[in-house]
């Protein structure tokens, strides 16, 4: 099948795609884009609630002092640019303050007024005045803190042993331990979850980015009649094979480049960004190998389908509008893989990683989260290869039959007939 004619077509496809502005831009911009998205998210989170002016009132001086200490400590550790003022006052004095400063509160010059009455040590009821009662960001920042202050004040007033106090105040720490074939590995799942999501997004983007332009290119060759020139020198099968293999090589190269930063991070060669420095990422050689081979099978499968669709229709609009059912074969597994990230051992996850088409996106997400049994890997690979075989045979038939056909838009019934008879 791969003779000098096919090789010439593969060579042209690879050169045209790899040196195209679109390819270079996409290859370089995707990792940068993802870093920017994560970075911006981090940036926005760090700016949330900044610049707020908060007035703290307490009936008891000791409570006020505790609040000052805790809030100052919070500001030092995690600055949110809060302007804080503290004042000891009774409920009546507070009401006078609010009356006098009503305008400032309404205009947002004072974002909130917190009042901790003496009775808070009995019923844990504190008051918060604001022009925006739903200012959850500000409330969330101080809720735990005020709770701790009230608890501490209560404990202080009861003369309880320090050791007991320390134990009570200590949070439970759940250490996540992952059972693997080789033993028990200590680790935090969030790093692996990030990789699973990253793999899923990479596969989704790449499959669409490689297969959709291939469909457009095949359709353009048909519409512009370039294909007729080609077919005087090559067979339709050679032409289709050349175009698919060429596009797959270009896609594989792109995927390989995208994986390099992930591998460098996983190997510890490059420290993660500040926001993700706690993530523990473990990526073995087998995982990477399976991911790349799985991608190769996937991209060949979808390139075959998309190319056949490009050959079937007389214009790009008809081809695009008929693509939706095939797009679902990428979109649905993409969303399933996201749900698998939360529970990779679910029945849905196992089934998804063994179903034709679904397996291409679901298995890579699962394999980085749990130790997938070897038989499941073998089964998934076999299913993907069998799927690829049937797709290539059927789509090859459609391509050969339809690439020179012009006229009305074919119906699904006709497409089925072509597959049977061609």
């Amino acid at each position: 099948m791969i003779n000098y004619r096919t090789k010439a077509i593969i060579k042209r496809e690879v050169i045209q795609q790899i040196f195209s502005k679109r390819f270079i831009f996409a290859t370089l911009s995707l990792p940068v884009f993802m870093l920017i998205v994560f970075g911006l998210q981090f940036l926005f989170m760090s700016f949330e609630g900044g610049g707020d002016s908060l007035r703290i009132f307490a009936e008891e001086q000791s409570t006020l002092d505790l609040l000052r200490n805790q809030l100052n400590e919070m500001e030092n550790n995690n600055p949110a640019d809060l302007q804080l003022t503290y004042q000891r006052s009774s409920k009546d004095e507070l009401e006078v303050f609010i009356e006098e400063n009503r305008e400032a509160i309404l205009e947002g010059n004072i974002n909130g007024v917190l009042f901790v009455p003496a009775t808070a040590l009995e019923d844990k009821q504190v008051l918060f005045y604001s022009n925006n009662a739903g200012n959850q960001i500000l409330l969330n920042r101080i809720r735990t803190l005020v709770n701790n202050v009230v608890i501490n004040a209560y404990i202080d007033s009861r003369n309880i042993d320090d050791e007991i106090i320390e134990f009570v105040r200590m949070n439970v720490s759940i250490q996540s331990l992952r059972i693997t074939d080789t033993g028990t590995a200590e680790g935090d799942a969030s790093g692996q979850q990030a990789v699973a999501i990253f793999f899923n997004i990479l596969l989704y983007i790449s499959l669409l980015m490689v297969a959709a332009p291939a469909m457009a290119a095949v359709n353009e060759e048909k519409v512009s009649r370039i294909v007729e020139v080609f077919l005087s020198s090559v067979t339709p099968s050679e032409l289709m094979a050349g175009k698919i293999v060429g596009s797959a090589i270009a896609g594989f190269t792109q995927m390989f480049i995208w994986l390099i930063p992930v591998v460098l991070v996983a190997s510890g060669s490059v420290p993660l960004l500040l926001a993700f420095s706690d993530l523990d990422i473990q990526l073995g050689f087998f995982m990477l190998l399976y991911f790349l081979l799985n991608y190769l099978i996937g991209v060949l499968t979808f390139l075959s389908i998309f190319s056949a669709f490009g050959a079937m229709f007389d214009n790009p609009q008809d081809a695009q509008s008929s693509m939706f059912p095939v797009m679902l074969l990428i979109i649905v597994p993409f969303f399933l893989a996201f749900s698998v990230v939360n529970n990779p051992t679910s029945i849905l996850g196992v089934a998804g990683s063994l179903l034709p088409f679904f397996s291409i996106l679901v298995m890579p997400a699962r394999m980085v989260l749990i130790d997938v049994p070897l038989w499941q890997f073998a089964m998934a690979a076999l299913i993907n290869l069998i799927t690829l075989y049937f797709v290539v045979v059927l789509c090859g038939k459609i391509y050969r039959f339809t690439i020179l056909m012009t006229g009305k838009r074919p119906s699904w019934k006709e497409i089925y007939k072509w597959m049977r008879y061609s």
Binding site: R5, S224, L231, S232
Partner: protein, 300 residues
Amino acid sequence: MSELEVRKLNKTFGQLHAVKDVSFKIPEGAIFGLIGRNGAGKTTTIRMMMDIIGPDSGEILVDGKAVENDFRRRISYLPEERGLYKKMKVMEVLNFFMEIKGIKPSAVKNKALDYLDKFQLLDRQDAKIEDLSKGNQQKVQFISAILSDPEFIILDEPFSGLDPVNTDILKEIIIDLKQQGKMIIFSTHLMDFADRMCDQIALIHKGELILNGPLQDIKKQFSGRNISLVYEGDISFLSSSPMVETVNDYGNATGITLYKAEDIQKVLRLLIERQIVIKKFDANEISLQEIFLKVAGGDD
């Protein structure tokens, strides 16, 4: 050099019998015209000859043997609808087409430059196809079809879209290729070109071959009752003459077909009596256009 034979080709598309038992032979070194109306089955026949689509029955033979896979190396095709990759440069296109023919581009570089020079495209060798005019794109495509030095060249409407200067250049190159012993197969609607350039023709009508053979023999067959006349005056009276079957009048030149060959002298006498100025009167001349109209015109 070789002889190409099409034997009993049949092709149906659903209910449409597009090509019915078409057979013809093309001798080596001939310029062969495959003519017919739109939808007659010419392109389908060519596609089967090129092995782009398979026939339902029949075969293509070269020197009496069925064509094999390497036939694609020996044949080139310039389709009616032109198509080149718009983003590729002229030399890249030519190199690519050589590679799919299994020829190293470096081996034909000088020849490519020579053809580009002949077509006045030498200074555009690094230009992108999309930056060329339609006529220039067509010339590049023609060069890509002949650069691999094929034995058989199929040209589908090669002159359409070319200006008179480029038409002349192309004609010269085609004649040069014929002199090199290449077999050239034209598919065309332009009877004038076919008339002047083809040695042999095959006329396909509604999928069937209705004329086939050396052009001169076919002309002889049709010219017995035919007069080619160049004149001045009014010859409208001929249309109502009981001797005349048809008159294809173009103002000062006409083709006249009679019911009987014996009436040729009577018609000449009639023209003189009516004081028509006769500049040319040829009783053995019939154009391919007239033959075409006789056998394929009229019945839609």
